[in-house]
């Protein structure tokens, strides 16, 4: 499945008319929105907690340099290694070099959006290394050769029938007549497949929800326990994550954890919270022999000092996706990029360039629900508007659009001229109306594609006000 952010309009047209996708996306309300609502209202003062979370993240991204230095020292002291990647190419190469040095051929993976961002799986395959996704949702979409459609629920676009079809096609050695009609049968089958993968893995790759500078630890939250099996069983564990994930210490991380799980799945805490702080040592019974952390910049530092800087606060809970009416209508794949929804609209113009990702910040009504639920108070509509301003300043919107806006602004700055225009418009529209509505007008295809225009009352307000 190819990713093309420029095809957003076409993809969204298809998506809104796809009944299976509509059914799958219909689960957002019960699955995520209600869960978050209950979890946040159960907490004594969730809004105050959001304020605290925002302050911690803002502090962290404005002290990135010193926190990352501290993190590197802490990890090294514990016997781990930190690697720095300026971009996706460097990040992929670092991971491949580590795996080749250790002779790894089969690699288990925990869910990691950064690994999607840098296109890690394809690069591993190209070097003869087989990555196996162990998060259930990731495992399903890996079998389907699809990118994730949601930040925390990668297979959210699928129904259980889709998953059954996928398993039948992929697990071709199993009895074709087996019953896969209920969820537990699907989970059981995936578990059996993944057990074998865990046992045979030479290395494990995970992401990180937070990095703590003082302790040199990486934290991940999971509900399936696959993260622990990925990081603990193989000889080598590699954490691949963005540099912005660093926070001062475990205390700070614990505040963010409370926000993250409640905002994401509505859980007070996930089934597993893993704190990974280095390789196997004398005091520990088990753990990896080698512990690597690959810190990826990939455009993140470029956001510092810009009006979009607050984007770096993001803790990837996906609450903004779950409450976005656009995401809820088109799903994740229509965006044609790793990060969909409002956070994608804020991140992608930086990651991919505004001319490539221009649809994402434009595909918003600025309804403001994303900012309302964001656990670290990222002003997402403000950031989307900033990208629109960058797009406009670069002269990217079509010339007809800019000329139209210019003409309108020219008139709107001249009240007398403007009055003439509105008088004319309301009269013409009134004449064209039949039965209270206008069904079509030239050069207004966007409006009339799906709706009529109600008839205006005739004389403008200003005209009526000034006539005796």
């Amino acid at each position: 499945m190819t990713q093309d952010p420029l095809a957003f309009r076409e993809a969204s047209k298809k998506a809104v008319h796809d009944p299976r996708l509509k059914q799958a996306l219909g689960r957002i309300k019960g699955h995520f929105q209600l869960a978050r609502r209950f979890a946040s209202s159960d907490f004594p003062d969730f809004d105050a907690l959001r304020g605290q979370g925002a302050a911690i993240r803002e502090h962290s991204i404005t002290h990135l340099h010193s926190l990352l230095d501290e993190f590197e020292k802490s990890v090294t002291t514990r016997g781990g290694q930190v690697h720095w990647a300026r971009n996706a190419t460097e990040a992929r190469q670092i991971v491949i070099d580590i795996l080749k040095r250790s002779g790894a051929r089969r690699v288990t993976k925990g869910k990691s959006m950064v690994s999607e961002e840098i296109g890690l799986n394809d690069a591993l395959l190209a070097h003869g290394i087989v990555p196996i996704e162990t998060d259930l949702g990731e495992y399903i979409i890996q079998l389907r050769h699809e990118p994730p459609s949601h930040i925390i629920a990668p297979a959210f676009h699928l129904n259980k029938e889709d998953v059954a079809d996928t398993f039948r096609a992929a697990h071709s050695k199993l009895d074709p007549a087996r019953d896969l009609s209920d969820r537990s049968a699907l989970v059981g089958e995936a578990r059996a497949m993944l057990r074998a993968a865990f046992e045979g893995a030479d290395a494990g790759i995970t992401g990180a929800n937070f990095l703590t500078a003082r302790e040199g630890a990486a934290l991940i939250v999971t509900n399936e326990g696959n993260g622990d099996l990925t990081r603990l069983l193989p000889r080598t564990h590699i954490v691949v994550t963005g540099i912005e994930k660093v926070v001062p210490d475990l205390n700070a991380a614990s505040v963010l954890l409370r926000l993250l799980t409640r905002s994401a799945t509505g859980q007070p805490i996930t089934s597993y919270v893993s704190v990974m702080s280095g390789p196997h040592s004398e005091e520990m019974a088990d753990g990896p022999r080698e512990f690597h952390v690959v810190l990826v910049d990939n455009g993140r530092t470029r956001l510092l000092g810009t009006p979009a800087q607050a984007t770096l606060r993001c803790i990837r809970c996906a609450a903004c996706l779950n409450h976005c009416p656009i995401y809820g209508a088109v799903g994740g794949h229509a965006y044609g990029a790793t990060y969909p929804g409002p956070i994608g609209a804020a991140l992608n113009p930086n990651l991919l360039g505004i001319s490539e990702a221009h649809h994402h910040p434009n595909a918003s009504t600025f309804c403001g629900r994303c900012a309302e639920v964001c656990p670290v108070k990222i002003p997402l509509p403000t950031i989307m508007r900033y990208w629109r301003a960058r797009e406009y300043a670069a002269g990217l919107p079509p010339i007809t659009y800019r000329a139209g806006l210019g003409l309108w602004a020219f008139a709107a700055k001249r009240p007398l001229l403007y009055r003439l225009g509105t008088r004319l418009a309301s009269r013409v529209l009134k004449k064209l109306a039949k039965g209270g509505r206008i069904r079509a007008l030239p050069m207004a295809g966007g409006w009339f594609a799906i709706r009529d225009l109600p008839e205006p009352q005739g004389k403008t307000f200003m005209e009526q006000l000034n006539s005796p």
């Binding site: 969204s12 309302e372 806006l405 700055k413 209270g436 509505r437």
Partner: protein, 248 residues
């Protein structure tokens, strides 16, 4: 209280009765209402398109026209939100106008908010026989923080039965130029809203923002839905004009 009334470009061109209804309400609440003749548009289409220079020009014009009043009242949450939240942001590098923008922002109110919170008037002896639902327009709700005022006002309308609308706080899919840039997504959102309105068993949809109402009424007309649409000012002021899109 001297109130500068900002009519908004949509009300001016499409539905003047909303403006006259609003003025009637303000006067009944004891305000002296002045309509500055130099007003045009708040500049929101430019701002949301990222055309900041155009927006700043229009913002300065609005500031010059309205700064002298005790209050500025707007029958639209999105235009009021533009003045209150975005003018200071748009003009942050324009020393003198930035201060003026901040001072204008402080005295700018959405109509129902002003009536309830400032003028303390909640009963206009209005009558309207219908079962209705109220759609919170997003800017009203999340930029102006108006939730209770319109409901309080509508509760005092004789004959009006207000039905609870599911997902009243979810966007209807208008979003200004969004509605023409991404009509298919806008269509889905409008259809969801219309279904919720029908399921509420209301025959009338009341809203605080003409943009959302024109979009919803236009979509309902296209689908042949039997629903009526009115701006809240018209309901409160016993406006006798035909409802939006009903024809004359």
């Amino acid at each position: 209280m001297r109130v500068g009334f900002f009519v908004t470009c949509l009300v001016d061109t499409m539905r003047p009765s909303v403006g006259f209804s609003a003025i009637k309400l303000l006067e009944r609440a004891g305000c002296e209402v002045i309509v500055p003749p130099t007003q045009t548009c708040c500049g929101q289409p430019a701002w949301n398109s990222g055309a900041d220079a155009h927006c700043r020009d229009l913002a300065r014009k609005v500031i010059d026209s309205f700064l002298e009043f005790d209050y500025v009242v707007v029958p639209s949450g999105s235009c009021a939100g533009m003045i209150r939240n975005h003018y200071p942001e748009a003009l942050k590098d324009d020393g003198a106008y930035h201060l003026r923008a901040l001072s204008l922002a402080k005295k700018t109110y959405e109509l129902t908010q002003f009536l309830v919170e400032v003028a303390r008037a909640t009963d206009f002896s209005a009558k309207y026989n219908a079962s209705a639902c109220y759609h919170d327009s997003c800017s009203c709700l999340r930029e102006m923080f108006v939730r209770d005022a319109p409901r309080q006002l509508l509760a005092n309308v004789e004959g009006l039965e207000l039905k609870p609308l599911k997902d009243a706080d979810v966007c209807c899919g208008f979003g200004g130029l969004f509605s023409v840039k991404y009509p298919e997504i806008s269509e889905r959102m409008a259809d969801d809203k219309l279904s919720d309105a029908k399921n509420s068993e209301a025959s009338l949809v009341i809203g605080p923002d003409l943009g959302c109402l024109l979009h919803l009424a236009g979509r309902a007309a296209r689908r042949g839905e039997n629903l009526k649409f009115r701006h809240i000012a018209e309901v409160l002021a016993n406006c006798s004009q035909a409802s939006i899109g009903e024809g004359t």
